[in-house]
């Protein structure tokens, strides 16, 4: 009897990942290829970002992938001067929310985009990035 290998790809997400297994682990492979992807329900067409394995609207689990592309409107943001354990090297950093219309994306501003240079309502794009500690993530940049 062979041991089943556990798929822990999700442990690569973010400065600190708090969970390693999920049914949408392909998200990580896409990030490695430079793509930020959400899921689309093949039955009802609902778009989900962040990706979901299951559609609560029609109870379907047959999902396809779509790429987060174009720009979204900056809904709000905040610069943190304190952080939880494990994020000390990142301080200060700015968390933010973009509205793409059909879905929203939560993340951080790129390190070279200071808080002073953004305002609510401006258009930003989402790009994948590699973190100094070897982890994978995505950030918001000017288009």
């Amino acid at each position: 009897m062979g041991k089943r290998k556990i798929d822990v790809r999700f442990s690569k997400f973010g400065t600190v990942s708090f969970t390693s297994t999920t049914k949408v682990n392909d998200f990580i492979d896409y990030l490695e290829q430079g793509k930020v992807m959400g899921t689309k329900c093949k039955k009802c067409g609902a778009l989900f970002f962040p990706p979901r394995a299951d559609c609560y609207k029609c109870l379907e689990s047959d999902m396809g992938w779509f790429e987060v592309s174009g720009t979204g409107k900056l809904v709000t943001y905040s610069k943190l001067e304190y952080c939880p354990v494990g994020f000390e090297d990142d301080l200060p950093y700015v968390i933010a929310l973009l509205d793409y219309g059909d879905y929203k994306v939560f993340g951080r501003l790129a390190d070279d985009l200071p808080e002073e240079d953004v305002s609510v309502g401006m258009e930003l794009k989402t790009v994948s990035n590699n973190l100094p500690n070897g982890q994978l993530s995505y950030v918001f940049q000017k288009p």
Partner: protein, 388 residues
Amino acid sequence: MGKVAIIGVGQSSFVRGYPGTIKELAFEGFREALQDAQITTKDIEASIICSAPEYDKQRSPAGVIAEYLGLIPQPTFYLESLCSSSSMGLKVAYSMVKAGLHDSVAVIGFQKMSEISSAESQERMGRGADIQWESPFGTMMPAYYAMYARNHMATYGTTPEDLALIRVKSGTYGQLNEKAVYRKSVTLDMFSDPESTMSSPVASPLRVGDCCANADGSSCVIVVNEEKAKALCKKPVWILGVGAASTAVNMVGRDLFNGLTVAQQAGEQAYKMAGVTPKDIDVAEVHDCFTIAEMMAYENLGFAKPGEGKELIRAKETYKDGSIPVNVDGGLLSKGHPIGATGGSQIRTIVLQLRGEAGEIQVKDPEIGLVHNIGGVGLYGNVSILGR
């Protein structure tokens, strides 16, 4: 079916580093509520124990606490909805009594936030959001409320000074509250004084002065049916409406960023059930874990139109002698915020107000009061309306 009443309320002092166990802490609020109601443990048919489990070392605290309080063999269970746990406890107790299952239920809230080390606490802080998609970005509770503050400012022209005015009001009453953890007055100047900790940035645009303090504390509310209320109590306070709602924990699942939908929805339910409107509320306790939270509460509860909350605080309408007194006990900003105990403490303040027993902070002759209690960053919302 008859009405449901509150006949006893109690709370411990809210302190930093409570020198005792969670059982001993829970006993303090419980004893005060029993003495207030002039009843004994034999009069309590069931208990609901409310807290947020991430701060507990004790597994399944309900049984351990119920035994210490002398509430066995009556049924007891644990209830959690983060910071609104004991308001949700009130709603569940109301249901149990209304359904006729029990004549009396004790809602006991507690939190010993100092139970775990500050390192453990820091680690748990990182898991306050959806751990899969948001925590990996390094999120924290103040930063989420800060995002609401930023959008409120961008949408309505609310200023950091408007938020500071809410803290100044809190300090005005907090210094009168002998059970508050922070009993000093706060001035607007402190927010512009770099030497004052109040002005120190936490998560822009929020500063230290915009944030409440952690504390250890307990609270207790005794809920009974109409027959028992009339037999036992000279001044029962009736539960007129209990509303509750939930929403997406992830920011991406939300559509409103300058108000909390759970507060709007829980408020609408409670107003409808009580048959009253915002104008009928004579005194309110709202969940001011951050100054922006109180500002949004004014608007979400209908005390002000969206974006006009700032006019209320600028005109001091939410002070004791204003048109709608809010948090005249100092609120969470001054009292401190022992998560599971907070709702019970808010309910206690409104009950004392409606009985005319609030002392220095007594509002003039209130008939109807409201409690707004939020769990997480607007993840859970409870609004309760009480009347004398």
